[in-house]
């Protein structure tokens, strides 16, 4: 069975209503005739023997890398860094691909007599993972074996005793990363490449770096010049990370990169209609949709959120490549694009999108307005190569409840960002120059990042910068079904129905606009020609 590619449907009178995500829930929406709907490709056929594929990759690395088993020698220190809880989304059904790969690496290490081994979650400035999340990503066998010996660590970008300054790139960018990882005899990085932004030199240069280092590419200027940041060849974010990555290698840090790709099999059996094309819904799909959307609508927020965040995706491994970072990543990108890319002819005046319950930064938590903004204008908007799906001066319509609700444990600085910063300005450059430093150096945020489970104080700023290119490009943003006050705080307009939203958009883009709907998740990326 081969999977069908993604495609663009043009709505006509026979088109059934289209599924549209709306936070913890979804509904059916009718689009005007002529609207284009961008459907993702179906999930690719997975690798039949994942363990075998991992073994194969580790022993047949790409680039000038030696097979992993020959790199492992008795008495060495091995550090294995891995992507954190921001990937994949939703969390995948056990066993997580990280567990699969790390078990294989550890077995080889044991066979070679390597017993000085550390695992490090490459958090960058993300929150620390909880025990449950670590157990899920690594499996309890690894967790229980390493935790008591303090061998399972989480990167701490604010721990001066465990950071090393490796100097600067030729462009003067400070390269400061995790000392334990940098000074290991071998650093193995285990990645999940869910979207094309992930991986490559970004794994180590961002995932294991300090604020001092990260701020060289996580800033407004870089993000405005990343068009898109999902396309590394046109992304200043990646250029900077690549300079840093090469500098890290030049300083003698020995990295063995392992990248994995997953198919887009996003929803389990009970929710499989969410991945299907509406006209192919069976009677059962239809009744599941009705029952589930009704009950989600009737549930209190915390309950519907809880139901949604318990979803474990049946993602399957489609590729695993190991060895030298750049060559590994080139293969990975081919794989990601082959799964997600759909060709679209021409840009659109209005781009509509329904935002789901989860983005990279609210796993097991609340999607607050700043994360809504970032998921829409950072992630979804940037899911393109070539040119944006929506034309310059066009409008994005976002469907999401967009409530001003925050998780005080995970997102404490977001609350202050919402109250103190967005009440003053929504302009990324002004936000950066006036407020970033005070948030980034606030001792309380640093404390909560290091000792609690909080995102770093500066993180909401990055969310805002993520959308800077879109803000620059767009003529307007309308939130459909969102809380009007919170929507206004973001600098956007509110609409209560799709028809109202389109009417409002017309005042910006003119009459008779072209409309394109991004039918995602599952993930889809547009190659606009």
């Amino acid at each position: 069975m081969t999977s069908r590619p993604g495609f663009v449907l043009e709505v006509d009178r026979s088109t059934p209503p289209t599924l549209m995500w709306h936070g913890n829930s979804y509904r059916l929406e009718r689009f005007p005739t002529g609207t284009r709907i961008l459907y993702p490709p179906e999930p690719q056929e997975p690798i039949a023997d994942p363990r075998g594929a991992v073994e194969e990759a580790l022993e047949n690395p790409v680039g000038d890398s030696q097979p992993l088993s020959t790199l492992l020698t008795k008495g060495m220190r091995l550090v294995i860094a891995f992507d954190d809880v921001s990937l994949p989304l939703p969390q995948m059904q056990a066993p997580d691909v990280r567990q699969l790969v790390i078990e294989a690496v550890l077995e080889k290490a044991a066979a070679a007599g390597v017993d000085d081994v550390y695992l490090v979650a490459a958090l960058a400035l993300h929150r620390r993972m909880t025990e449950g999340e670590l157990r899920h990503a690594l499996g309890s066998r690894i967790y229980d074996a390493l935790t008591p010996r303090k061998r399972l660590l989480q990167h701490d970008a604010e721990d001066p005793s465990n950071l090393v300054d490796l100097g600067t790139t030729e462009q003067g960018e400070v390269v400061e990363i995790n000392k334990l990882a940098a000074e290991a005899d071998l650093l193995v990085y285990v990645n999940i490449n869910l979207v094309s932004m992930d991986g490559g030199h970004k794994s180590v240069a961002t995932g294991l770096a300090s604020y001092r280092s990260i701020r060289h590419h996580h800033n407004v200027k870089t993000m405005v010049h990343s068009r898109s940041f999902m396309d590394m060849h046109h992304s200043e974010l990646h250029s900077s990370n690549w300079r840093m990555g090469r500098h890290i290698a030049a300083q003698g840090v020995k990295i063995f990169q392992i990248e994995t790709t997953l198919n887009t099999d996003t929803f389990p059996k009970a929710f499989e209609f969410l991945s299907k094309r509406e006209w192919e819904w069976t009677l059962k799909d239809r009744s599941t949709f009705i029952a589930s959307s009704k009950s989600l609508k009737a549930s209190p927020d915390w309950l519907s959120r809880d139901i949604m965040h318990k979803i474990r995706s049946p993602y399957k491994l489609t590729g695993v490549t190991a060895g030298e970072v750049e060559q590994v990543h080139a293969k990975t990108l081919d794989k990601v694009f082959s799964q997600q890319l759909v060709t679209v002819e021409g840009q659109t005046d209005i781009l509509t999108m329904g935002l789901p319950f989860v983005g990279p930064y609210n796993v097991n938590s609340i999607m607050n307005p700043i994360l809504v903004y970032c998921l829409a204008l950072g992630y979804f908007f940037n899911m393109y190569v070539g040119k944006p799906l929506v034309r310059e001066g066009g409008v994005v319509i976002i469907s999401h409840p967009n409530k001003a609700e925050f998780d005080p444990a995970f997102h404490p600085s977001y609350i202050d960002f919402y109250e103190q910063v967005l009440t003053e300005t929504t302009d990324p450059a002004e936000i950066e120059s006036r407020f970033e430093e005070s948030f980034a150096t606030d001792p309380w945020y640093i404390h909560l990042y290091r000792k609690g489970n909080a995102y770093h104080g500066v993180h909401p700023f990055y969310m805002w910068y993520w959308g800077a290119h879109a803000l620059d490009h767009l003529g307007g943003v309308i939130v459909l079904g969102g809380d009007p006050k919170a929507t206004k705080r973001l600098g956007f307009q509110s609409a209560s129905t799709m028809m109202d939203a389109i009417e409002m958009a017309k005042s910006i883009v003119g009459d008779d606009p072209s409309i394109t709907h991004l039918h995602s998740p599952p993930l889809v990326m547009a190659e606009v020609i």
Binding site: D416, E419, Q420, D442, P443, W444, H447
Partner: protein
């Protein structure tokens, strides 16, 4: 002459109190205040002058009185029937000079030798409220001997009258009395140069406190809790560094002082919080957001409140009241910064310099010209409308509401045409 009069009528006071929460209009209708034709008050001694009010403000304590929502604490300190109104700019009939009224009825106007507080210049703490030449009453506006501002004529001791320059409008001048209260509240807090300060509430008391803070200590970092758009805009215009909502106070205190927080507990917080609301919630959040050992100053008149004083105890917060005005003392450097060194009325104490609060308020007003805060004026006849407006203030785009007595029959006016 026409005068608004408050009579001692328990039944009416109870009615007003009961109705005040539901309808200001009905509370007034059944309450103790009435518009009457009365004889002009007689001067108690030759030291007293007749004054015809031009503008007369409505303040929070006036509202509490006429709506009977105050405690009965003040009852023995007033004499019935009285005419309210202690924020007054008027004309002294003797020589037609324009004057503002320092309303407090302390030893001097009462014709007494100064008590221990008055002799120290702390007139706001005066011991004499029921003796001397006039009946009991802490201020003109609560005393049956003097009349009050909400009428066509009152009497005042010559020491209570301060002439105002032509450069001040009536609107500027009518704010001098409440501004003196705000200056007293701020001056006694002794703010450090770069103190981190909050003002809770942005009604007229709150905004005048903001103005007083930025006048006396322009370098402090000032957060203001404001509810309504006109209040937010005014606070920013007066120099607030940020305007926040009440529920943000604790978080703002944490941000501004880079404190650690655990629940409601803060490792630091504001050096001083000026509570210009006086409610249970405002006092509670003020106490929680002041730094350990910091001050909370109750500027607005509080009444019965139920608050958790655990954080006050645990964090050694100083909760302090502030009332009226007297004499303020400043360092010579401050006086220089305020550009007041040349003022003849300064009293040199060696290390420090003293100035009467009222004098300071007049001088400050000449610089600040806060008359724009007087947003609405009404004739006495429309007192019900006026008091309703004042009671709803911020939510109805009002800051200071006054009685306008400059014409016998004037009409209600908006911001611009006053």
């Amino acid at each position: 002459m026409r005068s608004l009069v408050v009579e001692h009528n328990i039944r009416r006071m109870v009615s007003a109190k009961l109705l005040a929460d539901t309808s200001v209009k009905r509370s007034l209708q059944w309450g103790p205040l009435a518009l009457k034709e009365v004889g002009a008050p007689k001067a108690p001694t030759s030291q007293w002058l007749r004054v015809q009010p031009r503008l007369s403000g409505i303040c929070g304590s006036d509202l509490a009185t006429v709506l009977a929502s105050t405690t009965r604490y003040f009852e023995p300190l007033v004499s019935f029937p009285f005419t309210p109104g202690h924020e007054v700019v008027g004309v002294a009939t003797k020589d037609q000079t324009r004057v503002v009224l320092e309303a407090a009825l302390t030893c001097k106007p009462r014709g007494l030798r100064p008590c221990r507080y008055c002799s120290l210049g702390q007139e706001q703490l005066c011991e004499s409220v029921a003796v001397g030449d006039v009946k009991q009453g802490i201020q003109i506006g609560y005393c049956s001997s003097t009349g009050g501002g909400w009428s066509q004529e009152l009497v005042a001791h010559h020491s209570q009258l301060w002439p105002v320059k032509d450069s001040l409008s009536d609107e500027d001048a009518v704010l001098i009395e409440p501004f003196a209260c705000a200056l007293h509240a701020v001056a006694t807090a002794k703010l450090q140069k770069h103190a981190v300060v909050a003002v809770v509430g942005a009604g007229s008391v709150g905004l005048l406190t903001v103005a007083a803070i930025k006048y006396l200590s322009p370098h402090v970092n000032l957060s203001v809790v404001a509810k309504h758009p006109i209040q937010r805009d005014s606070a920013l215009k007066l120099g607030a560094n940020e305007v926040i909502r009440e529920e943000e106070l604790g978080r703002s205190a944490r941000r501004n002082t880079r404190a650690f927080r655990s629940g409601d507990w803060l490792s630091s917080g504001y050096d001083v919080v000026f509570d210009c609301v006086g409610s249970s919630t405002s006092l509670s959040s003020s106490i929680k957001s002041a730094k350990p050992g910091g001050q909370v100053v109750a500027v607005g008149m509080p009444s019965y409140t139920g608050i958790d004083l655990t954080p006050l105890w645990h964090r050694e917060i100083n909760l302090r009241g502030t009332y009226a005005y007297g004499t303020e003392s400043f360092s010579k450097k401050t006086i220089e910064h305020l550009d007041l060194s040349e003022q003849a009325s300064l009293i040199d104490n060696g290390d420090t310099v003293s100035i009467r609060t009222f004098d300071l308020a007049i001088l400050a007003m000449e610089r600040l010209k806060l008359g724009w805060m007087v947003t609405h004026g009404f004739p006495l006849e429309n007192y019900s409308q006026a008091i309703e407006k004042a009671a709803h203030a911020g939510s109805q785009d009002a800051i200071k509401v006054v009685f306008d007595l400059r014409k016998t029959k004037s009409t209600s006016k908006g911001t611009n045409d006053l």
